[in-house]
Amino acid sequence: MFLEEGILHGDIRPANVLRGPDGKLRLIDFGYSTLDRLKP
């Protein structure tokens, strides 16, 4: 889904994926992320 939005995270690793009490996963740490130039 991030790729579909043109978001390139740049530092994907288990430490940057959080699982909440509801079981949902959320991504953190976007300090090295970029936007894909080709996406509108």
């Binding site: 991030f2 939005e5 978001i7 430490a15 959080l18 090295y32």
Partner: protein, 156 residues
């Protein structure tokens, strides 16, 4: 336990992702610089809002900062965390703030990132804090098997 006094540095009002300002888009399309010290940003915008933070538990360490479970005053009762980043990593502070401010709201990934509550600066401009909802624990804490293939697909 540590105490911080912070000033509001960046607003957290939401705007649709289709309205990303062109200057913001241009900045976020660039690959991060090797060192934030090579770029110049306003260190601390004038602000009348302030926040007192009591740092309780260090719950994570990233490439550019440490994440703390914290108590905030005034007016923040929910469970939130503060990601503390040094002024040396100011470019990452700006980059991350712009993603939360302009890119995620209204996009399909809005529910796949923690809710954002603003970026604050310490009064001396040496530290910045990105305030987020407490979204849980890193999957690595629960062991490698906790991060399944379907999990991998859901965040890709």
């Amino acid at each position: 336990m540590r105490y911080l006094s912070l000033q509001y540095w960046f607003p957290n009002s939401s705007v649709p992702s289709s309205n990303i300002p062109s200057a913001v888009r241009k900045f976020l399309e660039q690959t991060p610089a090797p060192s934030a010290r090579q770029r110049s940003f306003s260190r601390c915008a004038p602000s009348t809002l302030s926040l007192c933070v009591t740092l309780r538990d260090n719950i994570g360490r990233g490439r550019t900062g440490t994440v703390w479970r914290a108590d905030f005053s005034p007016n923040m009762k929910e469970h939130r965390v503060a990601k503390l980043m040094s002024v040396r990593d100011l470019e990452s502070v700006v980059r991350e703030t712009l993603f939360y401010q302009y890119v995620f709201p209204g996009s399909s990934v809005e529910d796949l990132v923690p809710k954002y509550h603003g970026t604050y600066a310490s009064c001396d401009g040496g530290w910045y804090a990105i305030i987020l909802d407490d979204a849980g624990k890193p999957v690595q804490d629960a062991g490698r098997d906790d991060f399944s293939e379907s999990d991998r697909e859901s965040v890709k």
